[in-house]
Symmetry: C2
Subunit: 377 residues, 2 copies
């Protein structure tokens, strides 16, 4: 267990990259003497190490950074079958991967993970020793202790204490998290959002997910439901949604919805990329579908910006790129629906991701608990 000043230090380095002891001391508001001690301890623990030496006037400063091999984490994504399972270092680099058959039974999943572990760690005895946590990403609601799945439609779960079950079978400290929230944490720890205090991730895929970071911390909401933009009403009196309402964003802008609309429009497209191709070839139906979906997603994101004024929006997508008609419409709809005074003030970035990224997100939940500590609301 790390002390609170150690965690503070790790947090600053994780946000700002390598820093010298003197800068860190100023940044944490402690004396150089104290800083010296904290750094010594963390270096002894193998979590921190000295990297570059920076020359200037006076004695050169030695930058301290996370030691990539200071700790390792395992992450599993239960979003697809087979479930990707990765081994990640403290920099979020994936150093090994495996596939695990998915199940809807928590016990079976836990056993599967336990069986797969040796494979993942094969030939890396040093890594096994430093394995410091395991994370699981899933679609659904997770409690604030990141231990229990409160509800998951996809897995058919209700109050499943998955973390405990996995920990029993594997002996490794385990945390679970909602997929979009895990993705946000990994972008904060390892990705593009490292130095952004307030941002939201919107994951655009079969479904639409979203998660917020506020004041440098994941914000889960009062019932763990913060970020559920998929079911905000975007087309009043629109199509009915599986959630029971009508006109949810999910019924218009998810890839699932787009595919369904294509089918209903008698298009033969089976993917967004194909639909984009049809649209650029001038197919009016395809254009209309992409326009409708893009406007809806853009409007929802504009609301997000108006409501929360984040420092960045990160849109992740699984398919194609975000430069086609759909992406353009999304961007336009965002700009058109935020206060003109604010237009362009909130960077909107896009990032293509694959299945392993979800597993890395899961691993980052474990890494976060190791480095920064539990995410107390």
């Amino acid at each position: 267990m790390l002390t609170s000043s150690q965690r503070q230090l790790l947090r600053v380095i994780s946000e700002s990259g390598p820093l010298s002891r003197t800068v860190l001391a100023a940044s944490l508001g402690v004396s150089k003497a104290t800083m010296s001690g904290i750094a010594r301890d963390l270096i002894a623990l193998g979590i921190l190490h000295e990297t570059e030496t920076v020359y200037g006037q006076g004695r050169p400063s030695i930058l301290l950074d996370l030691h990539p091999e200071g700790a390792f984490f395992v992450g599993i994504s239960l979003l697809e079958d087979p479930a990707p399972m990765v081994l990640s270092d403290l920099n979020g680099k994936i150093i090994a991967r495996e596939n695990m058959p998915l199940s809807r039974d928590a016990e079976v999943i836990a056993s599967g993970i336990a069986e797969m572990l040796p494979k993942l760690l094969a030939g890396r005895p040093d890594v096994a020793k430093k394995l410091s946590g395991l994370g699981v990403a899933l679609s659904g609601f997770v409690d604030e202790k990141q231990a229990n799945c409160v509800q998951s439609t996809l897995l058919g779960w209700q109050d499943v204490p998955l973390a405990k079950i996995v920990r029993q079978k594997t002996g490794i400290e385990t945390f679970i998290e909602n997929d979009a929230k895990a993705l946000a944490v990994s972008e904060k720890l390892f990705g593009i959002a490292r130095d952004v205090k307030n941002f939201s991730v919107v994951s655009f895929g079969e479904g639409i997910g979203c998660a917020h970071f506020i004041r440098g911390k994941l914000y889960r909401g009062n019932h763990g439901g913060a970020g559920e933009i998929a079911h905000c009403t975007i087309e009043p009196n629109g199509a009915s949604c599986r959630c029971g309402k009508r006109g949810c964003l999910d019924t218009v802008a998810s890839i699932k919805a787009i595919k369904e609309m294509s089918k209903a429009g008698s298009l033969s497209c089976t993917s967004l990329t194909e639909l984009e191709q049809e649209a650029s070839a001038g197919n009016v139906v395809a254009i209309r579908i992409l326009h409708r979906a893009g406007s809806a997603l853009g409007l929802a994101i504009a609301h997000l910006i108006q409501f929360n004024d984040p420092g960045m929006i990160l849109i992740t997508h699984v398919e194609g790129n975000f430069d086609g008609l759909f992406g353009t419409v999304v961007r336009q709809a965002i700009e058109a629906n935020v206060l003109p005074r604010y237009a362009g003030q909130t960077p909107v970035r896009t990032q293509r991701i694959d299945g392993d990224i979800w597993a890395r997100g899961a691993a980052s939940i474990a890494a976060h608990n190791f480095l920064i500590g539990p995410n107390r609301n």
Copy 2:
């Protein structure tokens, strides 16, 4: 200046009400010995005092609470002319009030405040000695130091360092804040939201304001614009708004908009109350206007709930009550547009407020800075 443990203690008491030293020790995670010392210091400072004695098995416990007369604050609301100016104690009780003529010149405002101060404090030499801060609430954007008004349409300001100007003229530590955000802080410190960690205040009046508390702290957003729901697009391609967009919530659901719609509908109503009366008498136009406005506001609040999953929504209103057609429609629209799973899970409270409440909100900003410290993001 208070220490961080002292502030922590004050925060807990402000959230949970009077508590015994033993409970506080557990709550702050310090030993009874440490707690004893912190309490002694704060009592000596006159900020804390012993109140009720609670009898149970063993030695009775003595509850500690904020000493109402431990510190006093002045608050001014620049939302109306004349500007209400109040003197508040540590419990948020208004113990004196005055009116001040409003101006658009910051220097004139500051001079006006300085002139009014003696009147407000007349015959209370003890209070004057314990005057610990001054707050100003205004419509517009305020920087995160709560010192400068970045922009205010109402006052015609751009980058006005109001806090500094007022401090120079009065000699009192001064903070400024956006109206809705000030209101949220006062509800957190003194009002109905004391023990709620995450909540949003929606102020329904001539305009519509909103502010979020997240993890027990005011969340200002990356540009101080968090909570700007007034300009979220609620009726795509709706009426054009003074902000430059179309169909903003402000163009449909603010009292200003409602009055304008009444006028356009040839109704003679000059207030929401009158419109409600017309509606209950069966006037179709009145009913339609209230329905449209209520649905819009309800939908926006539903979005808020979906996006941020707050523990409470507090709607404040200036006129009439919230039990008429308008309020009913708002509530229905909220319920109809949140995930059915969540419906009814987020308490929606309403509260009627008057002009002095805005001034008390302003005072609470000063109180917050005194008790809890600056609102670091």
